[in-house]
């Protein structure tokens, strides 16, 4: 009996279900929410449709939408974590202990950081790339559609795993990067760190595959005539970002694996004794971690480039300069990782070199800012919500850049390392850089995806809420850092006088939350008013790049005939000349396949088994994955041909339907 139990249950037991009220409540909420969704799908008999249209799709537009849906859900999850953190730090002073215990609080901030980086920012990025990149390159799909779908389902498996930790077991309390020895078995004996390891490991494999996929897409999937220097800047920024993915994610794989080995097989990579070296982990994780933040921000910069040019009705200023700046940032981002631990004692020579390399990144980044501002110069600027996001970004990101240059000076870092000053700095970069960019992007490309525009007035309110909320939430933290407040505290002394600043920060967080509420309202209102907001031509903003030449929403075949390009901003040039690219051709499209979602599910089981030491589950899961791949390999006809005639018929049907809707 006992043997059976350990075979199939590992270290799972009834104690795995959460004890703390808050966690229990959240767990029940998630499970109930999930069950309700499943019940609704069953009630409306949508399973077959779901399976055929979404779960087995290899259409990057559908995959992109799924990425964004998952990421937005995770934004709500990690955002709630943030509200909890602000509530704790605004109230846990002196004799009060705040609403959460230290254990809960530490899991909350660890989950907040991990989910925001891996499942919100990465997800939004991959989603947008899926939706936009192929079309911008004048093509229909990425280089490897099967691997694209697989990447998404691995991402989802990781997301499910990290949310499972709320229901069965616990999460890591060691921060979003889980430094040893704290993350070693001795100091984190529970399953928390293992959940962290495996959700990242599985999602990370998906990310690495996406990196390879999008790299080859850019190199090989451009339409006729589109040389590299005729690509949109967004494509260049994706190119740079994916290069970083390819070179940095293997390092994450190694770091996570070695930590798991320490915890599970008694190895001594990072243990305090036994010949382990915790500093080595810090180096490995940041050798990945620093490129990671540039992975996230480069496509966001690309988005700003697209938005600027479109809404200023002007060519992007300094295209060549922008491309060089991207590669400057890519190269430099590999040379700076040590700035995350100047205080670990590497010595003055080493610290100086890395400090100087870090400040150098300010140069190409600054160049980009000026190129954007001078795109606006002598343009005709339409101040839509997208430009509000951009202006918020310019003012706030630059201020964050200043604090970054300060942190790059090791002797300054000695004073503010791991303080709230640091927290304010990196949130400034990630929120105003990455999040503002991707939220603006969703609004910008929304008509392309759905066929109607979002309510722009509400969009402006959203952007203002986020910007003002951001200032209120994070500028007090800069001050708190100077006041000696370290990060991740769940309690502090009343005599320090920090509380009012934390209260302001909490108000800021609520303001951002208000912005999120307005986003939901905006979505509902826009759907309600979709007929008035329809984008008939497909060119919702008088755009410049090729994706605006397709209808909105883009049909699954994208282009009836892939365009031929002779210059940058070909679509803009075509519009000025009054020409339209047309024609029909036979199209080779991938067939739907259930293998990616099956592999994702098996990966989830492998991860779960690895966490709970259910080795039979791990072995069976891995075998299942191997078999699924073999089954796929034996598939001789993974694609089908859509004839030109059929495309013409579909196109005519689409145009007919649009006329009916507009009548």
């Amino acid at each position: 009996m006992i043997g059976f139990a350990t075979e199939w249950l590992g270290r799972l037991s009834w104690h795995a279900f959460p004890q703390a009220t808050v966690t229990r409540g959240a767990a029940i909420g998630i499970v109930l929410g999930g069950l309700i969704v499943l019940a609704l799908i069953t009630y409306f008999h949508k399973w077959r449709w779901l399976w055929r249209e979404w779960l087995t799709t290899q259409d990057p537009k559908r995959i992109g939408i799924m990425y964004i849906i998952v990421s937005v859900l995770m934004l709500l999850r990690a955002g709630s974590d943030a509200l909890m953190m602000r509530a704790q730090q605004a109230t846990s002073v002196g004799t009060h202990t705040g609403p959460f215990s230290p254990d809960t609080f530490q899991q909350v901030f660890s989950a907040h950081g991990t989910i925001m980086i891996f499942f919100v920012a990465m997800g939004l990025m991959f989603g947008l790339i899926n939706l936009v990149l192929p079309q911008q390159l004048g093509n229909r799909d990425v280089a490897f559609p099967f691997m694209n779908a697989l990447s998404f389902w691995l991402f989802t498996a990781g997301m499910l795993l990290i949310n499972m930790s709320l229901v069965i077991g616990e999460f890591s309390a060691a921060g979003w990067l889980a430094y040893p020895p704290l993350s070693e078995l001795k100091f984190s004996p529970g399953v928390g760190v293992d959940y962290w390891i495996w959700s990242l490991q599985i999602a990370g494999v998906g990310s690495l595959m996406s990196g390879i996929n999008f790299l080859v897409t850019i190199l090989k999937n451009r339409c006729k005539g589109m040389t590299m220097m005729k690509m949109p800047v967004f494509a260049w920024s994706v190119f740079g970002s994916m290069t970083l993915v390819a070179f940095s994610f293997p390092i994450l794989t190694v770091a996570l694996t070695l930590l798991y080995f320490d915890r599970t097989f008694g190895m001594h990579f990072f243990t305090a004794g036994g010949g382990g070296n915790a500093m080595m982990y810090v180096n490995l994780i940041w050798a990945w971690g620093h490129p990671e933040v540039y992975i996230l921000v480069l496509p966001a910069f690309g988005v700003y480039s697209e938005i600027m040019a479109t809404f200023s009705r002007k060519r992007l200023f300094g295209y060549t300069s922008m491309v060089w700046a991207v590669w400057g940032i890519v190269f430099l981002s590999f040379t700076v990782w040590l700035h995350h631990f100047f205080t670990m004692g590497a010595g003055a020579d080493v610290n100086s070199v890395f400090g100087i390399a870090t400040m150098l990144i300010a140069i190409p980044t600054g160049v980009k800012i000026f190129n954007w501002l001078f795109t606006m110069y002598r343009g005709r600027i339409r101040f839509t919500s997208h430009m509000v996001w951009f202006m918020g970004f310019v003012f706030l990101f630059v201020s964050g850049g200043v604090t970054g240059v300060m942190l790059a000076v090791p002797a300054i870092d000695f004073q503010v390392h791991n303080s709230l000053f640091l927290v304010a700095h990196f949130h400034t970069m990630v929120v105003t850089g990455v999040v503002f960019g991707y939220l603006a992007a969703i609004s910008y490309w929304f008509p392309k995806i759905t066929g109607f525009r979002l309510h722009d007035g509400l969009g402006k309110i959203v952007a203002w809420c986020w910007s003002v909320g951001f200032v209120l939430a994070f500028f007090p933290l800069y001050a708190l850092g100077f006041m000696g407040a370290t990060r991740r505290l769940d309690h502090y002394d009343a005599s320090l006088g920090w509380q009012p600043l934390f209260i302001v920060a909490a108000i800021g967080a609520l303001t951002i939350a208000t912005g999120v509420v307005f986003q939901i309202v905006q979505l509902i209102v826009s759907i309600w008013q979709r007929n008035e907001r329809r984008d008939i031509t497909g060119d919702a903003w008088d755009g410049r790049t090729l994706e605006w030449s397709t209808p909105s929403p883009t049909p699954f075949y994208v282009f009836t005939k892939t365009p031929v390009v002779t210059e940058r901003d070909q679509f803009w040039a075509d519009k000025q000349a009054g020409t339209v690219q047309r024609g029909y051709e036979d199209i080779l499209l991938p067939k739907n396949t259930g293998v990616p979602i099956v592999v994702g599910g098996l990966a989830l089981l492998v991860g779960f088994g690895a966490i709970w030491h259910i080795w039979t589950l791990v072995v069976l899961g891995l075998l299942g994955i191997v078999m699924a791949i073999i089954v796929r390999a034996m598939n001789d006809e993974p694609e089908y041909i859509l004839t030109a005639k059929e495309v013409e018929r579909l196109e005519n049907a689409r145009k007919r339907k649009l006329k009916e809707v507009m009548a």
Partner: protein, 296 residues
Amino acid sequence: MKKRRILLGIWLVVAVFLAVAGWYISRRSLPIFQPAGPVGHKELNLILFTLSLAAIVVIPTYAIAVIIAMRYREENHTKAKKRIKYDPDFDHSRLFEAIWWGIPIIIIGVLSVVTWNSTHTLDPYKPLASDKKPLTIQVVALDWKWLFIYPKQHVASVNLAEIPVGVPVDFHVTSDTIMNSFWVPALGGQIYAMPGMDTQLHEQADKAGSFMGSPANIAGHGFSRMDFTIKATSQDGFNAWVKQARHAPKQLDAAAYTALAKPSESVPVTYYADVKHDLYNDIVMKYMTPQSGTDQ
């Protein structure tokens, strides 16, 4: 006009808010802006210098952003009173590129030199220049308190360390648990505390006072309750404190240390009258070779 009035109103609210916030913050203790020692002073000067250097680029950037955004709005183009140029193909300028590659390169160049010099001057491992003999304090990060061993004075204390004003202090820092960080903002700087490693931080207090010390790396359950105090007094005051510690009832022998090392939070200030010889060294070295109870 109504729009303008609303905008003005908003700016007024913002200005008042900033004024109140600024007043509030200025009344608080900002140890980084009120350094108590030479290291902290130098670090503050660096902060102010870097800010000034950055301002050279940032203030014009903000100005340009505001001016361009306001001037080239679509509405302005349609208003006849302003002749705003619309140049949709103006997309490169050697002059502009030279300026915004060039000036940042120069500024970063200057800052690089300053960085190299300051990093060497303020290297935590570098002893401070002084004609006084340095005081050595060995610091051990524990769960969840700080142990201060004074090897020459043969006393030890928990969560409070006194130092004499004007005397350079050589902190040797280690951990007998997880990776932590030893941070005293008012004196300046921090250094990681790691098991099996001996790191150093050189500090000095130039005025008397009680200075907050903070753990600066997430350390587990009791992380928020292991702040400590560094108190700087006159030389006589320090001598008296040491004498008082030597009359403490307990001694920090092996057994007492093992008891102390057990996890505990919010530990009150404790003194030990004598310290086991080479205790700090033993704590560091025990991670280097196989011993009972350290394999993990």
